[in-house]
Structure formats: structure tokens, C-alpha cells
Amino acid sequence: MTARDLLDTGPKVIGVGLQGFVDDLQSQGFSASALDWRPPASKNIQALAAAEQLSNGSIAELVNNANAQAMERMHSADPVLTDVQLAADCIEELGDHIILHAGPPIEWQDMCGPMQGAIAGAIVLEGWAKNLDAAFKLAASDKITFEPNHHHDAVGPMTGIVTQSMPLMVVENKTFGNKSYCAINEGLGKVMRFGGNDESVLERLRWLESTLGPLMADTLLACDGIGLKNIISRGLSMGDEMHQRNVACTSLLLREIAPTMARVGDPDTVSEALAFIAGNDQFFLNVAMAMGKAIMDPVRDIGGASVVTAMCRNGTEFGIRVSGCGDQWFTAPVEMPRGLYFPGFTENDANPDMGDSTIVETIGLGGFAMAASPAVAGFVGAGGAADAVTYTNQMAEITCARNPEWTIPALDFAGVPSGIDICKVINSGITPTINTGIAHKEPGIGQVGAGVVNAPLGCFEQACIALSERLAAS
């Protein structure tokens, strides 16, 4: 809209500041709308200056071009669920006494209760200790190496614990040839991702390893993989946002694999497997997570790009990675989710925010796709359908683009907001909204509620400063 158009057609105003000026124009029948303007939320002067620098002039051009490339890579991804393999077979570095966890790097003594509990369970599962007491001792010694899933092409929900003998689902991004891994969702209740570690938990994990994993592998190999992009498209129009609601996608996946599974497995095992999947509305979450990792990994190192490539939490700290800063982590203390609790539980029982599942928001789903899932907005305490739309529109203010294929019927098929831009986060003060399950702070009790939580501003402040320093140095 050039100045010439402004004079020819008259002003169509966006008011930034005083509401009265907009009201006056509207009362005369002129086109005007007001912003809900607020001063920047960040108090970090260095970060504000960095974001300003990255958003203007020739540097902005460089950043925008890099981001366009990032979006091109994100949107051209072709994630396919291809296989289920033992962790030791797909992650080379895994072996005895190596444990992968959710979130950015963390040491044993800094871990929250559920994560320590899950680790003890995993140690028993692997046979590195005879019982949980011994397992806790071993974990606290320096004989165990802890590393983030994200350092090994993997992601895991909640505690996200991965050890060598666990079966992992494999998602291959056919466009770029990279693979990502995520464990099979164990179901609800007492499970390892919420810190559960008793015999029933370990028994289920053994069944996943011995029975469901191999059967899924045979099935996926026999049907040449399951394309995931279309399942997400359809799931969005069926009310899933793929973080707290996966019932549609789980059903769609089941529909895709059931005929082949029936062909490759023996009837009793197939029946048991299908019943297990069908009995867990969140089964698809782990598939969506591996998919998210597979989509974002090719975006990980584009010079100058301010797009977030990973968001995750370890129950203590929230960490993000930014394309233009490669594999560097930017961390800040995690926040407590705000939400609704199951009967008998309150926020006093809640563990701070945890898990790699925020990879789902990183690709524009979960809290970003809230408008597709009014049911979830209610479930996570985020209000009604109109509020759900507001959440999604607000996330569009901090993203580079909208996903052309993942569209939301309730928004007249506008795409989900795609590609979180750290500069837009700092400039607007709007932080990513995450839909999340809430874990009990004691190990082994499981999910006690669901809610929304925001990524802490501090991560984005540090990232903006680092990116601007990198660009200044180059």
C-alpha cells in the first residue's frame, strides 16, 4: 500500500495505542481497527536491541531469506512411519549405562522426581541393577551417562527415557532422507513417561519390546510405511491438535495398518496389538513427535535463520534450538502449567513442565493448532471455541508462515501457524503456547491433569542475542 494508494482510497487504519482514535473513525463509518497493543514483555535490553537489529535493514533481509529457506524445508518434508526397531539398532551410540532423557542436557542431581523414578525403572529394565534401590544408587554414581534424546535423532514424551532395549518407532523424512525415533506410547495411568517404575510398568515395556514392536515393524515393512502428512491433515479437520488430542489420528493410523497387520501377524497377537492401540487415544502422540523431529532436523543449521527447530523440557529447564545457531541450547527454568486437574488432584501435585513433546508445537500443531480442536481448548482449560481461535491467531503473530497443507476448517482452511521466529517472540512479547499433560510430581502416579504452559521468554532472549552476535561476527 503505497502513499499514493493512501491518498487515493483514504486511510484504512490500524490503531497502535489510543483506542479513542479508532473509535472516532469507526463512529464515522471509516475503516479502522485497534491493536491490543502492549509494551514489549522482555526487560532484557540487549535482547530487545538484538531482535530489533535482526528485524531491520540488510540483516533482516538475510534473516528473512534464511527463514524462507527454513520454511521451504519444513513444508517440503515428507514424513513416513517406516519401521519399529530396537533402540540399540537405530541409535549407534546407545549401549550399557547410557540413558537418554527428554529436554536439554541435565545432570542426575538436578532432575525432578518423575525423571529420576523413570531412570531407576529403566535401569532395572535393562538389568543394570537388581532392584529400584540399587538403581537409584547407580544412577547417582558417575557410572551412568545421561544425554538428551535430541542429541541422538530421538524424542520422548514427558520423562522421555530411552535405553538400548526399548523399541522405537522410526519416521523417515523421505524428502531429505533423515530418520527420527520415538518410543511407543505406553498408554495412560502408571507408565514410565510419568515416572512409573514398578513391575507392571516394566512388564508392559517388555511386551512392547517382545510383541508389539516386532509386529508393528513387520506391518510397516509390509505396507511400505505410512505417510503421515495426510493423516495430520485429516486429523486436524477431525478435531485433533496432536498434542493433547490424538483420537482421530490414532484411529486413522489404526485404519491404515489394521489390514496389513492382520495379514502379517497371528490372530491372537494382532487382536491384542489392535486392542492396545485402540485403547489409547494418545497412541499417535509419539508418532507425531517422531514426525516433528524428522521435519525439523533438516532445518537445524541454516545460517541466519531465526526459526526455532526444537523446544523441549526436562522437568527443570526449558530448552530451545534455533536454526541459525545450530545445535546450541538456550535454556530457562520451566514454568508450571495452568490447567484442569483430574478428580482428587490439585496444582500442588503438579510437576513442572516436562518432555520433548513440544516438538509438536515447533511444527505448528498442539497449542498452535488449538482452533482445530475446540474440545482440547476446554480440556486444557483454555476456554471455548472462540478462545481456541484466538490462541491460534496469536501464534500466527510469532510464526513465519502458515502451513499450506495442514489447514483448519474453523478458520476457513487457514493453515496452522508454522515456523516460530525468535525475533517475533521478542518483538511481540508473545511466547509459544503449549498444550500439555500434567505429571504428578511424585514418580509413578502418572498424569493428573492437562493444561497450557508458555515457553519461557528467557530462552528466546538468549537466542536473539546469540543469533545477532553470530551474524555480526560473520
Binding site: R4, L7, G10, V13, E397, P404, P409, F413, N427, S428
Partner: protein
């Protein structure tokens, strides 16, 4: 002869409901006979075959592909439709979703209102430059109402705007009119029926308001009033916005004359501005406060004040009181020892205009916002003191008198009780942005003063005001005038007329 065009997007999936809506949208475009967007399943390909829109390209689509199939009256229409389809597919959305929720950022605001072309920024000054930059980056023109924007920011913003064919109005731009639309503090011109053939370029604020009001009263009408901010004509900024505005107005065929309302430009800048004005091909009137007729280059009409500018622009003259006879009458009732004019202004430009009018009549003036030969307010003794009560020193922690007239009450009481004051001069500014009843506080103060002193008129100063307002202003011009008249205020048709009357009273009383 119809043309069939097919395009296949490999591995692209979109919900069929979305595709149906997009198909209908494209089918409605000019020259398009049929438009079908479908996923390439065998049954869909059959449907497209039957509809007569499929060619060899589309026939090869697989069930994982999207087929865009068009039948058009020619290549041109087909290509336009194809481009539209591709654009919609990239954007994801068919039509923008309307939500009542307000956006937090300009980017968000633009996605809700994609046809916006102007950001009106009225944040605290320290954030204004940042928002203005965001607006320019988003392709919006900018009007900065906020003040306290640094000269450096102002210059860089204006340069950026110029480079992208956008314009920055302001900072500290209180008033603008664009294609007849009043922005921020501005009087309504909606009651005027005359063709709008006049455009003004002004620093900001009440100068432009007074001109627009007087022009309307004289039978003219303002098309554009471009506010450029008080520093645009300084050599530091180099008149970036003013020069842009002249170019824009020169190209607007409906504009027959351009009026410049400003303080004296910087020396280097003046040459550039007047050269461009002189060669713009329109009638040009310059109302530069502090200029004499000889300061204005040939070919440009000189206006001594805003009323004069409006008269030149409308080729008519403003009916005003017979100043000399009215002054004689009023002077006769001025008490002994009363020989000073006290001006209490809410409008900065009006305050300037009054100082110059008094100086023109040979009177010595002082002001907190000195213009012409005015001394500073501290040296007001023995001079006529003309105050801008909207200046920074009066508005720190207090509202501006145009928004809250009560802040003028203390100064008005002081003047009423000052035994040396013969005439009090006031401006009453109506219009959007201004207080809903600006005369009320003035009237109440005058009535209370008269009651408290049980006084005859000779014991109090004469009060003269001009009302900067129009018949369609929300406050109601006539009711404001009536209230003031009933309280004993003499109303003049223009601010300069009021100042001239005040000067004449002083001269007659002397």
C-alpha cells in the same frame, strides 16, 4: 475456442471441502468456464474427465497428487486463475477468518485486516519508533501521533519510508486529513458539500484544524491535510515527508491548490521545498509563521495567517466583526490600569499565530513558546503574555488542555483576578479527539468569578475567544458558541481575528 489447462502438484493433500470452496472461488473468475481442484484418485479423475476439464497432464496424476484443472476462454484467463489457485494454496486460507479478538502486533493486525494502509501510532514515545519501523516493514504508511521520538529515529524512519514509496506523518502529528477522512485531533468536514480541491501540508495539530475549519466556512473543502511533524522542515530532517507530500499532491488531479502551513524552514531546506512547490503545477499558498511577503518566492501566494490562507484558497473573505467599532465599544469599558492581553491557549499553532498578530499590531509579547519577537515567559513583565498551556511544561503528569479543559481553569482565574489584564484571549478547539464539552469549564469559571465578585464588567477583563469547530463536529459548534456568548465571551470567527480585536482594544484604551 476453450483452452484446457491442468497442473499437478505431486504429493499435495488438502481437505476436499477446502478444495471445493477454492474451486468455486476460481470458477467465478473472469474468463473461467470451469475450475476443478481435486485429489487425483481414479474416481476424481473420472469426474474431471466427465466435466471436460482434464488433459494429458491431469490424467497422469496419482491419488497422492492435487490436480488443478481449468477450462478457460483463453491462455490469459487460465494463467490468471492458475496464479490465483497457486497463491491460495500457498497461503493455506481461502478467505481470511474474521475474529473479534484483537491482534497484539501489527503483523497480527494486518492478517485480520489485510487491506489496512496506515498505522496510527499513539503509544508512549519511547515505543513509537519501534512500532513505526514495524509498520514500514509491513508495508504500511505511518502517522505518529506520539511525541518524544528522537531526531535520529525520525530521519531514519522517513528515509526508510521514502525508499518504499510510503510516507511517515509526524512524529507529534496531531491532525491529518486523508481523502477527507479526519485522523486523530481533527474537525469533521462531513457537512461540506463543496468539491474538495484544496490540500494542505502542515507541521501538525491546530494550524491544520483552524485552516480546515475556516476553509469550510468560506465555501471551500479540504481533500488532504498531510501532517509532517514539527521538525520535518528542519535542515536535520531535510523535509523528507514534505517533499514527498508535494509530489503526491502534484499527482492528485482532484487537488487544485496546495497550502503550506509551517514554521520557517531551515535555510537549505527552504530552497528545496519552495522550488518543488513552485514547479508542482498547482496554485500554491504559503502560510509560514514569521515570514513576511518578501520571504516567499515569486509564483507562490503569501498568506499572513491561517484565515488569510483560507481566504486565498477560497477566493472569498471571512465575515468578521467590524473590529474598529467593536474595539472602541469594548475599550470604553476596560477599567483603569488594565492594559495587558493574556492569552491562554490549548493549541500550539494558534498560540504562535496570536503572538505574531499582536507583534504585527506593534505590541510586545512574551510566551513560554516564543514566536517572532516574543520574549520568554519569565520576562513577561510589561509585555502581553501569550501562553501555550499544551506545551510540555504544563502537561507533564497532566492531561492536555484540549482533552481536559479543566487544566486551564487555574490560569484563567489568575488572569481574571489580575488587575493589569484588559483582555483574555482563548481558543476553544472542537472536533474528534477533543473534549466532549470544551467550553463548559471556561463558562463555569467565568460565571463563578462574576458571582464571587458581584462585579460590574469594568472590574473584569474582556474575554475574547475563537471556536475552532464545524457544524458537524460531535460537540456541536452552535451550542458551544452560545454557551460562551451567554457567559459574556466575545466570539470571533477566527483566531487571528480574535487577536486583532484584542490588539485594537489595547490601542483604543491606551
Amino acid at each position: 475456442m476453450s483452452t484446457i489447462v491442468n497442473e499437478v502438484r505431486k504429493g499435495f493433500y488438502l481437505d476436499s471441502v477446502a478444495l471445493m470452496r477454492l474451486s468455486a472461488e476460481i470458477a467465478a473468475m473472469g474468463g473461467i468456464e470451469e475450475a476443478v481442484l481435486m485429489i487425483g484418485t481414479p474416481s476424481n479423475l473420472q469426474i474431471m474427465q466427465d466435466a471436460g476439464v482434464l488433459n494429458a497432464t491431469g490424467e497422469n496424476a496419482s491419488p497422492n497428487d492435487l490436480v488443478i484443472a481449468l477450462r478457460a476462454d483463453g491462455k490469459g484467463s487460465a494463467n490468471r486463475a492458475l496464479a490465483h489457485a497457486n497463491k491460495s494454496l500457498e497461503g493455506g486460507a481461502l478467505t481470511s477468518a474474521k475474529s473479534e479478538a484483537k491482534a497484539r502486533t501489527l503483523r497480527g493486525g494486518l492478517s485480520l485486516h489485510p487491506d489496512a494502509n496506515l498505522a496510527l501510532i499513539s503509544t508512549p514515545g519511547s515505543y513509537a519508533a519501534r512500532e513505526a519501523r514495524n509498520a514500514l516493514n509491513a508495508g504500511l504508511n505511518v502517522m505518529i501521533f506520539s511525541d518524544n521520538v528522537s531526531l535520529k529515529d525520525e530521519t531514519s524512519l522517513k528515509k526508510q519510508a521514502r525508499a518504499s514509496d510510503l510516507i511517515v506523518m509526524g512524529p507529534d502529528c496531531g491532525t491529518a486529513y486523508l481523502n477527507g477522512t479526519p485522523l486523530a485531533f481533527a474537525n469533521s468536514l462531513s457537512h461540506l458539500s463543496a468539491p474538495a480541491t484544496t490540500a494542505a501540508i502542515a507541521a501538525s495539530g491546530t494550524g491544520l484544524q483552524e485552516f480546515a475549519v475556516l476553509l469550510g466556512r468560506l465555501g471551500g473543502n479540504l481533500k488532504h491535510g498531510i501532517g509532517v511533524g514539527g521538525r520535518d522542515l528542519s535542515d536535520a530532517v531535510g523535509a523528507i515527508s514534505t517533499l514527498q507530500a508535494i509530489d503526491l499532491l502534484a499527482k492528485d488531479d482532484s487537488v487544485e491548490q496546495i497550502v503550506l502551513i509551517s514554521k520557517p524552514p531551515g535555510a537549505d531546506t527552504a530552497a528545496q521545498v519552495f522550488e518543488k512547490l513552485g514547479s508542482c503545477g498547482k496554485k500554491v499558498i504559503a502560510c509560514v509563521f514569521g515570514y513576511s511577503e518578501t520571504d516567499v518566492p515569486e509564483g507562490i501566494q503569501y498568506a499572513a495567517n491561517l484565515r488569510h490562507a483560507a481566504e486565498l484558497a477560497s477566493n472569498s473573505s471571512l465575515p468578521e466583526h467590524d473590529i474598529q467599532s467593536l474595539a472602541t465599544t469594548m475599550a470604553s469599558s476596560v477599567g483603569q490600569g488594565r492594559n495587558k492581553i493574556c492569552g491562554l491557549y490549548s493549541g500550539g499553532t494558534l498560540c504562535t499565530e496570536t503572538q505574531l498578530a499582536l507583534q504585527n499590531a506593534g505590541l510586545a509579547t512574551a510566551s513560554n513558546a516564543p514566536a517572532g519577537t516574543s520574549d520568554i515567559a519569565d520576562n513577561a513583565a510589561g509585555k502581553h503574555c501569550i501562553l501555550d498551556l499544551g506545551a510540555d511544561e504544563y502537561t507533564v503528569g497532566r492531561p492536555h488542555p484540549m482533552m481536559e479543559p479543566v487544566v486551564r481553569v487555574d490560569a484563567l482565574n489568575n488572569a481574571l483576578n489580575d488587575q493589569t489584564v484588559a483582555v483574555i484571549l482563548l481558543d476553544i478547539v472542537l472536533g474528534y479527539g477533543a473534549h466532549e464539552n470544551p467550553s463548559q469549564a471556561i463558562v463555569e469559571t467565568l460565571v463563578q468569578h462574576r458571582a464571587a465578585n458581584n462585579s460590574t464588567s469594568a472590574d473584569t477583563p474582556a474575554v475574547i475567544a475563537s471556536v475552532c469547530g464545524t457544524d458537524s463536529d460531535p460537540q456541536g459548534l452552535q451550542s458551544q458558541r452560545n454557551a460562551l456568548t451567554d457567559a459574556g465571551v466575545t466570539i470571533c470567527s477566527s483566531n487571528s481575528g480574535a487577536a486583532e480585536l484584542a490588539a485594537a482594544i489595547i490601542q483604543h484604551a491606551a
